[in-house]
């Protein structure tokens, strides 16, 4: 009697072992699948049709090469030297009307930052670095990356910021100033866009979870 039970036990164990293996061709995890099947994308889909109409320039930072939107065409009052023909010191006259009165600097306190921190007084069309090197306004990210180096690293890789359009190569990412106003970069508090009144009703009736 005992022998029969033992036989059945071993048979069940054998069947369980045989049936517990995963199907052929299926991976145990997504990372295994990615490692096995990865291939640079050379398919039919491309972001080029989605990007028509936007002016883009190609940049290479470190190991990354991608497109960013051109900036000079987006600034209404570019070129700055059309008004700022004289050097900075000459404009400090109290008689002249204060231009750019509506730009409030809410970026860092006055110990750290004023207009001359970023704007190049010798060439009002450009910006300047901490060591007084000229930075082209199209490449304004170089200026931001001086203080915000971790966000810059994330942006280069793709973890920070948004794409101009689509996930397909060629990659076109937005720059810092496309989302952040450089004079007041933080996002304001706001109200949520959506409120689900039906959920509210259901929760009141005790039907929600």
């Amino acid at each position: 009697m005992k022998d029969k039970h033992l036989k059945y036990f071993f048979l069940t164990m054998l069947l369980m072992v045989l049936f517990s293996c995963k199907k052929e061709g299926e991976y145990h995890s997504v990372t295994d699948k990615i490692k096995a099947e990865q291939k640079p994308y050379h398919g039919k889909l491309t972001s080029e049709d989605l990007l028509t109409g936007t002016d883009l320039i190609k940049i290479t930072e470190g190991e990354f090469t991608f497109l960013i939107p051109e900036r000079k065409g987006q600034i209404k009052s570019y070129e700055c030297i059309e008004c700022h023909s004289k050097p900075f010191e000459k404009k400090k006259n109290a008689n002249l009307k204060k231009a750019h009165w509506n730009i409030a600097l809410k970026h860092a306190n006055s110990d750290i930052m004023n207009c001359a921190t970023c704007h190049n007084e010798n060439d009002m069309n450009s910006l300047k670095s901490l060591t007084n090197q000229k930075i082209d306004i199209n490449l304004s990210y170089k200026l931001c990356s001086q203080c915000h180096s971790s966000q810059f690293n994330d942006w280069k890789g793709g973890a920070h910021g948004k794409k101009v359009a689509g996930w397909t190569p060629p990659r076109a990412s937005k720059t810092c100033v496309n989302c952040h106003n450089p004079h007041s970069p933080s996002f304001e508090k706001r109200w949520p866009v959506q409120f689900n009144t039906q959920k509210g009703i259901e929760r009141n009736d005790g039907l929600g979870h």
Partner: protein, 374 residues
């Protein structure tokens, strides 16, 4: 006396006299049944009576009466009558009707073909094309408006992945709103695929005390925000439990539902550990001017009452190379989408260089939706 059948007497048949056994097969113990007393018929008499039994009446009746004066029992008369009535009703309501307009007949033809089409997964590309054309034409006939529906298959060498930056989410819910508009979701029950949870600082991911329907200024003091939706698992429990195989994982990783095949048992809703699935309890209603006319058969086409639906990574957009609506709408750039198989994609950089994690890792569902922080 006992044979009188009074209406109030319950006649169980207990008083029946037991019949004495006889050799007669008809069971009648008293009367004659003539079985023993049959005369032997001569051959001619036999032949005459046989002919008489089969076509006797017809030899005297005319053609009209032969068809319309057939004697039959009530049961076969009833059967024949209902059969002919059903066939007539079917013909009237189908494409062979004589009282419908051309449009009505075309509509009936489309509905008939749609009813008997097979499972979408087994269709060839031409059949998929045909069913999509039928649906587009049916919409045009019903409402007079045009939609464009695609049956585009998965692209080669593409596996979609998604990353969510929990440091950046501020709870604005632009993603929820954009998703509802893009995917033609029912406005009456305010269906939302995406849920944004407001959680208290310091308690971790505590979904029991999180609030996913708040309405105050965000970000609120002492709280943080993160979002959930269908995670498009690579080993999806919802696909395993579907009794009719109406949901499956496509080759590019998107888990889809065929709304014409789903029977509405909601087993997948019970199986999903992440609350990714939604059910249409009522007929979905979307105002005409808000309907998104760029549709995909497996994505945002109009659903009907009694079928499941869920996030499809905006299959109508992602298979054309665009980002899903939630990714485009987020103002803080907290959502990242891309091709996991492309080593130079941004989603791969995130997975390799940031601290990423997934929800309910121990269940082995292998979701393709990772969370990370700055």
């Amino acid at each position: 006396m006992s044979e009188k059948n009074k209406w109030y007497k319950l006649n169980l048949g207990l008083n029946r006299n037991k019949k004495t056994a006889t050799t007669c097969g008809c069971g009648n113990s008293e009367g004659n049944c003539n079985s023993k007393k049959e005369k032997k018929l001569s051959e001619q008499e036999f032949y005459d009576s046989a002919v008489d039994a089969s076509i006797g009446d017809e030899r005297e009746k005319d053609g009209f009466d032969q068809v319309f004066d057939v004697s039959m029992d009530r049961r076969s008369a009833f059967k024949k009558l209902t059969a002919s009535l059903l066939i007539g009703a079917g013909a009237i309501s189908s494409c062979t009707s004589v009282i419908k307009s051309d449009e009505g007949k075309e509509k009936a033809q489309i509905d008939w073909e749609e009813q008997f089409k097979g499972n979408y997964k087994l269709m060839t590309d031409e059949e998929k094309e045909k069913t999509v054309n039928r649906l587009m034409r049916s919409y045009e006939l019903r409402t007079g408006k045009n939609i464009s529906m695609s049956s585009k298959n998965a692209e080669e060498d593409v596996l979609f992945g998604y990353a969510f930056n929990i440091s950046k989410c501020q709870g604005y819910m632009n993603c929820v709103s954009a998703c509802v508009e893009e995917n033609n979701q029912d406005r009456k029950s305010q269906k939302q695929y995406i849920r944004i949870h407001e959680m208290k600082d310091g308690e971790g991911f505590n979904f029991n005390t999180a609030d996913d329907n708040y309405y105050h200024e965000v970000p609120a003091e002492g709280h943080f925000y993160m979002g959930t939706q269908c995670f498009h698992c690579d080993n999806p429990p919802c696909v395993e439990v579907c009794p009719v195989k109406a949901t499956w994982r496509e080759d590019d990783g998107i888990v889809v539902v065929d709304y014409d095949w789903c029977v509405g048992c909601r087993y997948c809703m019970a199986a999903c550990p992440y609350d990714g699935r939604r059910f249409n309890w009522t007929k979905p209603e979307v105002p005409e001017e808000e309907i998104n006319k760029n549709q995909h058969y497996l994505g945002n086409r109009m659903r009907k009452k009694g079928v499941m639906e869920k996030c499809t990574f905006c299959i109508q957009r992602s298979r054309q190379g665009q980002n899903p609506a939630c990714v485009e709408a987020c103002p803080t750039g907290a959502r990242i989408f891309g091709n996991l198989l492309d080593p130079s994609s941004t989603i791969r950089w995130v997975l390799e260089n940031k601290k990423v994690f997934r929800l309910k890792e121990d269940l082995g569902t292998e979701p393709k939706f990772w969370y990370f922080m700055d």
